[in-house]
């Protein structure tokens, strides 16, 4: 999809809003996909390629930051990349979410077993 410079795609806006509503400081890829599925009422999770491409794009735009989670928190599973909204990202999420219905807090950082 072609875009105007400085504009966000619907998925990118959706990610920012989901991150904002979660109320958590950080979130990870699968947790985000799960939250977006729950919020949209969809049956399927966002595809890997689409999700991580959008996250990378938002990071390039300075709306998100990311880091690897601490080794101590990993507990035998692959380490997650943790994302956080920047100040600019939070403002973009607020602008995008203005006028929309409030969605209950999600399970962005919920821990699968």
């Amino acid at each position: 999809m072609r875009r105007k410079p400085g504009t966000l795609l619907p998925l990118e806006t959706e990610i920012l809003e989901a991150a904002q509503r979660s109320g958590h400081a950080t979130f990870h890829g699968f947790g985000l996909a799960q939250t977006m599925r729950d919020q949209s009422g969809s049956r399927s999770l966002t595809s890997h390629g689409t999700l991580y491409k959008a996250l990378g794009r938002l990071e390039e735009l300075g709306l998100l930051t990311s880091r690897w989670e601490d080794a101590a928190a990993v507990e035998g599973r692959p380490r997650r990349r943790l994302y956080a909204l920047t100040g600019e990202g939070a403002r973009a999420a607020e602008r995008a979410g203005a006028g929309k219905a409030v969605v209950p807090r999600s399970s962005l950082t919920s821990e699968p077993a």
Binding site: G31, H48, T50, R80
Partner: protein, 207 residues
């Protein structure tokens, strides 16, 4: 097919489309998808979803994201190429700067000889104009030598410079022109240095 087998297939696909990308970029994507797949399987199992459905869900996420994966790879490859071009430009700039410093130092060093001679002699010696002309001439020779050195194996040029140096020295001796003799010596020394570098470079490159 089990979810784990399907996850392996997805991981294989990720490794395939991240091939030849910068290691840090590729590794990040591989690890991020690995973590996602692990979380996906664990979460769906905890919800009591059947193994078959979990595997189908993973496959669906991969297939629906193929176009985005290809676009992401294209973008990353472009970014990497741009960075590589910038590094190349910086390398060239550094090389030019080093050459300029070498030439300036060489010219200054050589000109100290007539300068000292002028200072110790009684009014005889080089005028300011001579120093300027000598500096310009030496700098031009330095540039030619620097360019020649870049061309590995250019022994013919080294021999040519040496011949000109010998001729300058002989002519200077005949005309009693110490400046010309000095120039001849400089040219001969430069030709020797160039010849040595031309012969040693191929051996260094082959290591």
């Amino acid at each position: 097919m089990t979810p784990e087998r399907m996850a392996e297939l997805v991981a294989g696909w990720v490794r395939l489309y991240t091939r030849d990308l910068p290691a840090s970029v590729a590794q990040r994507r591989v690890e991020e998808i690995d973590a996602d797949l692990h979380d996906h399987i664990a979460h769906e199992r905890a919800r009591g979803i059947s193994e078959r459905r979990i595997a189908r869900g993973i496959a669906s996420r991969m297939v629906r994201g193929l176009a985005a994966d290809a676009a992401w790879r294209g973008h990353q490859a472009k970014v990497a190429a741009r960075l590589s071009t910038r590094e190349e430009t910086m390398k060239v700039s550094k090389a030019v700067y080093r050459s300029a410093v070498r030439i300036a130092l060489g010219v200054a060093l050589i000109l100290t000889i007539p300068l000292v001679a002028t200072l110790v002699s009684d009014g005889e010696g080089w005028s300011v104009g001579d120093f300027i002309a000598g500096g310009v001439f030496l700098a031009a020779i330095g540039i030619v030598i620097e360019l020649a050195v870049k061309r590995v194996g250019n022994l013919a040029l080294a021999i040519g410079i040496a011949v000109v140096g010998v001729l300058a020295g002989v002519a200077g001796e005949a005309d009693d022109a110490p400046g010309l003799v000095l120039l001849g010596i400089v040219l001969i020394v430069s030709a020797c240095a160039l010849g040595i570098r031309a012969r040693t470079r191929p051996a260094q490159h082959s290591q």
